[in-house]
Symmetry: C2
């Protein structure tokens, strides 16, 4: 049942084929430089022998690993999971392997991961967001390995970026709510830090409100963990703090799902009494009733473009300094005009029981 205990080496193949190891190496890596006869002879042996090259040895000799490292906050978030799948698929087509690490929103762990992957030998890095420890950037630069940032459309560190303008998207979605007539807002934001994407979204909301001279009191802002139950609790808190709130912006769909479920539990009609928006466009956003108005992030596209970028950079070409992938506002059923043309504070929306 146990097979050959020792892995086949280049020299084993070479001997069997009656050629030098250089030739075997060539048919493996640059077959076009080998004569057809030899190529075929070697290829046959290669196949029947089930030869698997020793990657570390190849990496040591060539100083290349054909490996890309992706360091994301968490693979538990569908947005990143999807992006990674696309990145991996695309990279695989270019002959690269993707190594994934996650740091759970901890920049120290991110730095440690970078170091671990650097050590392991990685030809390029894909990071998420532009908020990193200076040491991380320094380390990456000192090792002279290409890296890019994703899910943001620009970098203050001058790193090539593939993503979109979180601030603008949130601004536009808020503007849409304003145009519907909403004037009392709530904001449910993920508190994971560092998270420049969520921060940007929040800034977009605030800017839109500011431009209309609308205030967002602190009690109508909730910073909560990334979970459905947190979204529920946040909605409750905001509605308690101010029953007049008629629109709640959530920085992610997961929070919006919680907000909707809680609203229903409280007997608040969505969107009749309360409009709720999400961000990401997870599948559930389109399926839950009412379906959630949200921003669609082209995660696959980001992964695909990122793969192209990093491959180009590794090859020594340069990549555009930044690519903005298009996001899309998806209007669904969770948003509508406010029920009561707001007059003053008092009875409206938040009566929590409806006849």
């Amino acid at each position: 049942m146990a097979g050959e205990k020792r892995a086949k080496r280049l020299i084993d193949v070479a001997e069997a084929a009656g050629v030098s190891i250089a030739t075997v190496s060539r048919v493996l890596n640059r077959p076009e430089t080998v004569s057809p006869e030899l190529k075929q002879r070697v290829t046959e042996i290669l196949n029947e022998t089930g030869f698997v090259p020793n990657g570390p040895a190849a990496a040591l000799a060539s100083r290349k690993t054909r490996t890309v490292g992706a360091i994301v906050p968490t693979i538990g978030n569908a947005v990143f999971a999807d992006g990674i799948v696309a990145l991996q698929t695309e990279l695989h087509n270019s002959g690269y392997t993707l190594i994934i690490a996650n740091h759970q929103y901890n920049r120290e762990i991110e730095l440690e991961s970078v170091r671990a992957l650097l050590r392991r030998g990685v030809d390029g890095f894909v990071l998420v967001g532009d908020d990193h420890l200076p040491e991380t950037i320094q380390l990456l630069r000192s090792f002279d390995v290409p890296f890019i940032v994703t899910y943001v459309h620009e970098s203050k560190n001058n790193i090539p970026a593939v993503g979109f303008d979180n601030e603008l998207a949130a601004f536009q979605l808020t503007d849409y709510l304003l145009n519907l007539g909403h004037r009392e807002f709530g904001l449910i934001a993920n508190l994971n830090e560092p998270n420049d994407r969520v921060r940007a979204r929040q800034n977009g909301v605030l800017r839109a409100l500011r431009e209309r001279k609308i205030k967002l009191p602190d009690r109508q802002i909730a910073h909560v963990p990334y979970s459905i139950s947190s979204g529920r609790a946040a909605l409750r808190a905001i509605k308690n703090a101010n029953p007049d709130v008629s629109a709640v912006f959530c920085t992610q769909d997961v929070l919006a799902v919680g907000a909707i479920i809680e609203a229903q539990a409280l007997g608040i009609d969505v969107p009749g009494d309360l409009s709720i928006t999400g961000f990401d466009d997870l599948e559930i956003a389109g399926e839950i009733e009412p379906a959630i108005t949200t921003i669609r992030i082209p995660t696959r596209e980001i992964g695909r473009v990122a793969a192209g970028y990093i491959a180009r950079l590794i090859a020594g070409h340069d990549a555009p300094q930044s690519t903005t992938v298009p996001v899309e506002m998806i209007i669904r059923e969770s948003t509508a005009r406010p029920a009561i043309p707001r007059r003053g504070p008092g009875r409206p929306a938040g009566t929590h029981k409806k006849g």
Copy 2:
């Protein structure tokens, strides 16, 4: 801005410290074998120099990579994503790096991934399920690298397993529905193949029904992709096929969420008119209204135990042939006694509109 173009090597550190590279290597890997003075001198240089060892060189020389490969169907599934996080965390504590690959339920791709990781140099493998290409098992065995299977509690290939009995859990959940009084069942199953976990769950349902002499006609079984919308469509199809169905077993929570949403859209009361069960216990299962009765899978626990197993096997010790982690039946609001003590086919549940 650009730092030293060439990575520091052991010899650079050795020269700076006035010792041999062997000594530097030792303080890095077996510090207890070095005298305190030298250790400290070298450690200082190591720190100020920011030395990062060349992993491939170390791997080539030592024939070890301190890397474990995990090959899962998809990281887009929260169950696997959570398990991986736990696996990674635990492995990290033992000094191992985890490399993740996903094969999208394609056994050929799985084989290819195994080969790629073998080539890259991996000390051990964690696979999902017991359904693999014979070539995959052969390859793994011939390379003499330890590997285990997870999310199943036993392996017909005699591979150490960490998981639980999918068949039994499904059997028990079905039994619970039977004890509530249900007699007309529907089954919504994920059609991803190969997927021995889902197949086992399905078998568990069928066995429970068989023992009570209850038939499950084909039209009451739906095999669908893994998505909420598929769950919705499946529920509709089953209810159309037989309005008397009073309990629907879903092989995963994601499908159950779809079923519940669709039931609500059809005006079917859950659990009043229809009981629905899930499997996995994703967060949404506990938050959606009605909350879903389901089987809780201890994903973290599986990851943790798997990490211990594989570390032990790599160290040359042996691991128990199989560990069964406990699953738990979580009774929530989506299940209840059937509304109408079933008489014959006819009007009941499926009237699709309610007063």
